[in-house]
């Protein structure tokens, strides 16, 4: 590079950013723009094949969507399901992180390895394995629990519960490992002082660890919300595309089914836009909290 002697030619950072920005603009920003655009057009099979010209519909697609009772039902299910997943994941992850600090090396290693295994399992294979574990005919879970041939995917809530188990199983390791790393970074004097003062495990967590881990807990919470809100693979595979009579639909699967199963690309895009806006709101709240804590990006 000829600019070796110049410390900071003005365009150097942009040169480094160029490949990243090119990829992101072409394959992220532009598709998002397209998503928004399609949601304002009439776009069905006829337009895709070029049989009919596309026409601008204004907010008609959104009016159709918001007038559909199913949309609100799916939205509510998505929010509640994501909330349940986030809470369970955080609870399990944090509890096990604290447990890890209380045991010797060997049990810790075993738990870490098991968690890494669950973490590494691809969503699609994790889903198939959990469905098989809970299979009414051949699965071991129903045998052990004495549930006979109870079908987990038949009822709406039991199907959601089954998916929740899989989601917690594959996402608690991220929380556990991150929070554990955070606890290890707390100066040991602080924890010793708490122990000498006779604080119970719960008290130590609530009054000492949790406040010091606040930034880390915030990050894992936000990450979990984002991941669990846009769950797709687990629902799609475990409930066979949204459950019996579409009872287990969440927004992401709903959008996909609208677009690719019934060729209503505009409605699918409109659902995508709604999801995007909700997740954007979550991210902005996150940024506000981070900023208020006065952290520099």
């Amino acid at each position: 590079m000829t600019a070796a002697r110049l410390r900071h030619p003005r365009w150097t950072p942009w040169l480094y950013l160029l490949p990243a920005l090119a990829v992101l603009v072409a394959l992220l920003v532009y598709p998002i723009y397209q998503l928004g655009l399609i949601s304002f057009l009439e776009y069905t099979q006829a337009q895709v094949s070029g049989g009919q010209p596309t026409s601008f519909q204004g907010l008609a697609n959104y009016a159709t969507l918001f007038g559909d009772g199913e949309f609100w039902r799916v939205l509510l299910a998505t929010v509640l399901f994501a909330a349940a997943c986030v809470l369970s994941t955080l609870l399990v992850g944090c509890a096990l992180a604290v447990l890890l600090t209380r045991v010797r090396a060997l049990p810790r290693l075993l738990l870490m390895l098991a968690a890494l295994g669950a973490w590494a399992t691809p969503a699609i294979t994790g889903s198939t394995v959990w469905v098989f574990l809970f299979d009414p005919d051949f699965g071991p879970v129903n045998r052990v629990l004495g549930l006979g041939d109870f079908s987990w995917t038949y009822g709406r809530y039991s199907a959601f519960a089954l998916v929740l188990f899989e989601v917690v199983w594959c996402s608690f390791p991220f929380v556990m490992v991150t929070v554990y790393a955070g606890i290890r970074a707390i100066p040991s004097e602080v924890l010793e002082a708490a122990a000498l003062d006779g604080a119970s495990q719960w008290r130590t967590w609530r009054s000492v660890m949790a406040p010091m881990l606040r930034p880390i807990l915030l990050v894992v919470t936000i990450q979990s919300i984002i991941w669990d809100f846009k769950i797709f693979t687990q629902i799609y595979v475990m409930t066979n595309g949204g459950g019996i009579a579409r009872q287990n639909l969440v927004l992401n699967v709903y959008a996909y089914q609208k677009a690719f199963a019934s060729s209503q690309y505009s409605l699918g895009s409109a659902i995508g836009v709604v999801m995007l806006l909700i997740l954007l709101a979550v991210t902005l709240v996150h940024l506000r909290i981070v900023r208020r804590q006065g952290e520099e990006l």
Partner: protein, 292 residues
């Protein structure tokens, strides 16, 4: 070399003042029990893959098998073009990992080592980009790929996954690049090293552990993909990837569980290997990414 303040789960610093309590034994028993529970689904997957057909369709499933068989794996590998699916998956994931590591490295250097206008805006954009629901973009991406004649090619999987893994990769690498002291750069400049030389010969090797940790995420998200494969590789089966080979065993009348578990095992093993290879870096990487 790893950045300062990292944690290695295998060699924990000795906590001298671990207060001994009778509760510790109970805690350790609980930890071992939970580890077994967490590992059980994976154990069951591998076990079922090796069970003979009669045992897997048994209504009294046993947690062991006395005559393991390779039949299920034979069914998986006997599928037409299975090897090809595997190579396709590997090729797509490999390309994304290498490309995103290089591109993210350059971008991370730009946002940590320079002060320039819109730097903070860019960082926020990278953060915001992480929350984009990939699946929702299947619709516009489908049309984009069609318009550029990329449908039924591996490029239609590589390009979107590259884009989706970049924001997180940049965000995570930032911590690793930051951890390399600026003084090193000044020293290199004084010694007459060019910027490019410093970048690739000094900084790159130092940040490599971080790259390894970051690449797990791009590898997994790409390796796991079945939605794009399902949507973009509509007619040309020779371009298909592994998840398609797995879904074949789901049949409307009766699922071939042996085949499903064997295919799942084949699909899970490469990720596990990758994870084990980088697991130590992973923890320190998350520590670094979360701390600052």
């Amino acid at each position: 070399m790893s950045p300062p303040g990292t944690f290695h789960m295998r060699s924990p610093r000795a906590r001298r003042l671990r207060i001994r309590r009778p509760g510790r034994l109970a805690a350790e028993a609980a930890a071992v029990l939970i580890a077994a529970l967490v590992a059980f689904p994976l154990y069951w997957m591998v076990l079922s893959a090796f069970k003979p057909a009669g045992e897997i369709q048994s209504t009294e499933p046993r947690p062991w098998t006395l005559d393991p068989s390779l039949d299920a794996f034979r069914r998986v590998f006997a599928q037409q073009d299975f090897g090809r699916y595997f190579l396709n998956s590997l090729l797509v994931a490999g390309t994304v990992v290498v490309a995103s590591a290089l591109i993210a490295f350059l971008a991370a250097v730009a946002v940590t080592r320079f002060r320039f206008r819109f730097r903070t805006t860019l960082l926020i954009m990278f953060l915001v980009a992480q929350m984009v629901p990939v699946e929702a973009l299947t619709i516009p991406l489908f049309f984009l790929m069609r318009d550029f004649g990329q449908l039924n090619t591996l490029g239609s999987l590589i390009l979107p996954h590259l884009a989706f893994s970049l924001p997180f990769a940049i965000w995570m690498l930032r911590g690793f690049v930051k951890a390399v002291p600026e003084a090193l750069e000044e020293q290199a400049a004084i010694d007459g090293a060019s910027r490019a030389r410093f970048l690739w010969r000094i900084l790159f090797p130092l940040v490599f552990p971080g790259l390894a940790a970051t690449s797990v995420f791009s590898f997994i998200s790409t390796w796991n993909d079945f939605l794009f494969a399902k949507s973009f590789l509509i007619s040309d089966v020779s371009q298909s990837t592994l998840p398609m080979a797995l879904l074949v065993f789901f049949k409307p009348d009766e699922n071939d569980w042996g085949g499903i578990m064997a295919a799942s095992t084949v699909m899970t093993v490469p990720v596990l290997v990758f994870f084990v290879l980088v697991q130590r870096r992973l923890v320190s990487g998350l520590g670094g990414a979360v701390k600052d």
